[in-house]
């Protein structure tokens, strides 16, 4: 069985700085992977390499059978790898519905002139936009200007925009950052059920260990540019190295690497 995403010996150096090294893993289709690690541990570097925004210095990335190492980001998006952002990247002067239409139209077009000159509000585009709004439960905000949205809805819109183009793999960069503690679980519930219903493979970066424990099928723990734990949440989160270096659950943890 081919994993939908597999990376092998992935490495990224910037001059003498090794931002990521020795990363080898396979992600089976429809798995939900939680990525944890302190800032600077290599999580974002890893994501940027997969989305094509950074060219790996060494190693390969495969999408099913296809080698996509070093491919430009637009091509990778077209193949079905999409991402959302730590700070929601939306179009502030448009309404929620207009944001979704823009995302749907962008996803549908391959840049060819005749597609780009087709009407934006085609029934297909509107259909996809409406469906995504429903899926993420933000239809009530349809006509609200995106700049005035509350944070939780903003993040949902950001993720919905990444999903409307029917990707196969979705990378979520800190989906609950900036959301209040009371709302975090609610938002993640909506997001995860939406993504599961679309049968997406999900990799999400999170700092909140409870969220990771609840929603991930598998945990990747990053430290100092490499993966130090890879397994089911119960196992990975209990790993003593993870607890010492990342989650800090052990109260008498005194060693700092």
């Amino acid at each position: 069985m081919t994993a939908i995403l597999s990376v092998h010996d992935l490495e990224k150096t910037f001059g003498s700085i090794v931002a990521a090294r020795d990363i080898t893993l396979d992600v089976p289709a429809e798995q939900t992977v939680g990525i944890i690690g302190a800032n600077g541990a290599g999580k974002t570097t890893f994501i940027n390499m997969i989305t094509g925004h950074l060219r790996p210095s060494k190693g390969t990335i495969r999408l099913e059978d296809r080698d996509i190492t070093g491919w430009p980001s637009r091509a990778i998006t077209r193949l079905g790898i999409s991402r959302s952002f730590q700070v929601a990247q939306i179009f502030p002067s448009l309404t929620v519905f207009e944001n979704m239409c823009a995302a749907a139209a962008a996803g549908g077009s391959d840049g060819a002139l005749k597609r780009v000159l087709a009407p934006l509000r085609s029934s297909a585009t509107i259909g996809h936009a409406d469906a995504a709004l429903e899926l993420f439960r933000i239809s009530p905000y349809r006509h609200v200007r995106a700049s005035t949205l509350p944070q939780g809805v903003r993040k949902l819109l950001d993720i919905a925009m990444a999903v409307v183009g029917s990707p196969r793999i979705l990378l979520l960069d800190e989906p609950t950052s900036g959301i209040s503690v009371e709302e975090k679980f609610g938002v993640m519930d909506v997001v995860m059920s939406a993504l599961k219903s679309r049968k997406l493979t999900v990799l999400f970066v999170e700092h909140d260990m409870e969220i990771v424990a609840r929603f991930a099928d598998r945990v990747l723990a990053f430290y100092d540019g490499t993966v130090i734990a890879d397994g089911a949440p119960a196992v990975a989160l209990a790993d003593p190295r993870v607890q010492t270096l990342i989650s800090g659950t052990k109260p008498e943890s005194a060693s700092h690497a």
Partner: protein, 298 residues
Amino acid sequence: MLTAFAILTDGLVYAAYLFVVAIGLTLIFGVMKILNVTHGSFYAFGAFGAASAVGIYFEKGWPVAGGFLIMVLVAMGIGLVLGLIIERGLLRLVCGRDEVIVVLVTFAASLILEDMILLIWGTQSYPLYQPLAAAGNFEVGSLVLSGYDMGLIALAVALAIAAHWALRYTRYGRLLTVVIFDHETAAAFGINVSVVFTVTFIIGAMLGVLGGAVMAPKISVTLGIGVEVTVLAFAVVATGGMGSIEGALVGALIVGLCRAAAVHLAPQLELFVIYAVMALVLVFRPHGLFTQVAPRKI
């Protein structure tokens, strides 16, 4: 050989002129992030003001050295008044709005000032020959160099040194460096950014006016000089890097020497070469030669 030397001297003189004109523009952009289209009008006011004031002065037969002093004082006075009116009166009103809107406000102001010059000085031209004559000529080999031109080069060098020293070693200069880096950070440090803006704009205006004042003896002081100078100053500043004093210096040198080369070797390329060089630099260094642009973080 003679041509090469002529190109060098002409180029340096022209570069000096460009630098004096452009330094105010780049300073205002660097600190306030405003592309000040009114700069050409400041220049024009300087030229006309000097032509009038210094002309009258010399007619009265007063000592020559005082004439040069009057030139500078007139420039500073006009610069102060214009700078205050434009910055406090006009720019304050569009503070915080889109950059293009601010540029258009300065464009509108330049139109108004252009007509004010017409109202005050009319359509005739005001020759100012006395300072040139007073400065005399030097002979270097078979070339005759004008004393005034040499003075212009000296002024440009002095300004460059003064600006460099002021930015590095004076308290105000260091404040400016922080404000140039980021307005909000500067304000968070307790710097009164609003006052810094006003002072900077006035200094920039004075420098623009000074540029016009010192150039008055060399050009035909008539309507339209402001418009010409504006786009020329932009070319220098964009080439060198907007907001950078070294950039203005290097930009002025490049544009000055290229233009001098064109004038001597291929006169029909004179105007073309200035903007072609600018475009060429922008192709390889979109932000000019001396600026760094911070990438956006998401």
